[in-house]
């Protein structure tokens, strides 16, 4: 494989795995306007639950869905702490994130679960394709194709949801809570829906990453919110603030560009250990650049 191919596959494969994370962070960071730190727990929770279920012999699709549901549970818990106990949303996220760390260790029984000998959605789909006579091998290109289909389906479902009565109410909850309450919406409920859905998607990313990388690790969520936020902001900087379809497209393009920038940074000699630093700088740049541009 030549360099360009390596670059492309690394960007797209990892970028598409992060697309769900981007969608999830879009919901909270952009529509609810606060950084939901539950992500730091729900992302590795997705990895941990899928690992535990796969090791226990569950079907990979059921395991992935179960992992995403566990993430939704974490998000709902944050929303309940925030709305029922009137705890600041960021603090509520930190509380759940911290608690989930221990839950993840319990679920996996250790800090790292290798998944090299278990089934995965990628392996199962390749096997399924082979069974109906389509020659496919498990490699980066196949994974990119599989993930592209997943991402498009989830993006369309998300866009459709955000255009429903409930979806509109969820979006308005972040933008003008007083108004949407005056229109008869219980905003405690819409916050539960929004945070649940957001963390469902984030845990889905975690579950797919674990299967793609061949392991789930307790530390896989560190800095994940910053990654998601950087991606969302990069997308926003390019596409601007427009209609709902654009927001979702922007989040997707944002994660891909984020990955490309990371891959390039590694290519020019930075080490994988520098990744969090790179991510932080990217988020800072995405936050500061529009402001600097506006100041001129």
């Amino acid at each position: 494989m030549n360099l360009l191919q390596a670059l492309a596959s690394n960007t797209f494969e990892q970028g598409l795995l992060f697309a769900f994370l981007g969608f999830g962070v879009l919901l909270t960071f952009r529509f609810f306007r606060f950084p939901d730190l539950t992500a730091e727990g729900s992302y590795p929770l997705g990895g941990a639950v899928v690992a535990a279920l796969l090791v226990a012999g569950f079907n990979p699709f059921a395991a992935t869905f179960g992992a995403a549901l566990a993430g939704a549970g974490a998000g709902i818990l944050t929303a309940l702490i925030h709305t029922r106990l009137r705890v600041n949303a960021i603090i509520a996220g930190i509380i759940v994130m911290t608690a989930v760390y221990s839950v993840n260790l319990r679920v996996m029984g250790r800090a790292n679960t290798p998944l090299l000998s278990t089934r995965s959605v990628f392996g199962d789909i390749v096997a399924g394709l082979n069974a109906i006579g389509i020659p496919a091998v498990e490699n980066a290109a196949t994974n990119i194709a599989i993930l592209s289909v997943f991402v498009v389906i989830v993006a369309l479902l998300l866009a459709a949801f955000l255009r429903t009565d409930l979806g509109l109410a969820v979006r308005a909850t972040g933008e003008n809570e007083t108004m949407i309450r005056a229109l008869g919406v219980d905003t405690d409920w819409t916050k539960i829906v929004g945070l649940g859905l957001s963390n469902f998607l984030i845990a889905l990313s975690g579950a797919l990453v674990a299967q793609n990388h061949g392991f789930a690790d307790i530390g896989m969520g560190i800095g994940i919110l910053v990654t998601g936020a950087a991606a969302v902001l990069i997308g926003e900087a390019i596409f601007g603030d427009r209609t709902i379809g654009w927001w979702i497209a922007a989040a997707l393009v944002g994660v891909l560009i984020y990955r490309l920038l990371v891959v390039l940074a590694l290519y020019v000699g930075l080490q994988p250990t520098d990744l969090k630093l790179i991510t932080a700088v990217l988020l800072l740049a995405a936050l500061a650049l529009p402001k600097l541009r506006g100041a001129r």
Binding site: T164, L166, L168, N176, L183
Partner: protein
Amino acid sequence: MLALEHVTKTFASGGAAEVKALDDLSLAIGDGDFVTVIGSNGAGKSTLLKAIVGLTQPEAGRVTLDGRDITRDPVHRRAGLFGRIAQDPNDSTCAGMTIEENLAMAAKRGQSRWLRRAVTSELRERFRGALAEIGLGLESRLDTRIGLLSGGQRQTIALLMATLAGPRLLLLDEHLAALDPKTAELVMALTDRLVGERRLTTLMITHNMADAIRWGNRLVMMHRGRIIFEAAGPAKARLTVSGLVAKFHEAGHIDLADDRMLLS
């Protein structure tokens, strides 16, 4: 009929800065009434409105609708009854959402919201018709985000949103105050038209005495949480701005110099 019965609401209760925003206030608004409310700053006009919609809980008295006590109902549960517009156009609409999305949210006022597509083609036609009647050309801009509209246009949308789902009571909280005089005139004319056409029971808070006299069939003057003067029907029609000022003086506690009430 909406009734407030001996409603009292105190802020900073017990302290030196204690303010009785509503002081044993009773007011009954019959179906079809259009009541204008005037009063100096801190007279309790906004608190009155908040008590009606549930944004504030009075410590005494009750709010009833057709005899049913709604004093303790949370805001979202009584929302189906009221259409409300605030002074700031930002408060009554969602800037980041489109005209049709905002209208669709309002069309579902007080109803349960699930996974049905919000803006159906049927609704869109209805919105287009309603906007065309207003004549601001907004009917061709249904997918424009509200944030791109002028204050007057936003307040017009807010008015449509407030009246769309047929509220029992339309509540206008100085909804013209942030608009320039010409736009205010337009929005008020539209308000009056909608109220007339749909026979909406309306409560309009204003600090413009001329508006309070000109519109509606009842006028209520508030001061320090109490109603100090009331006029209805022909008696209201005969009111003048100078006459109202005199009423304030009669009540003996008005200092018009540092009030923002408009005498024009």
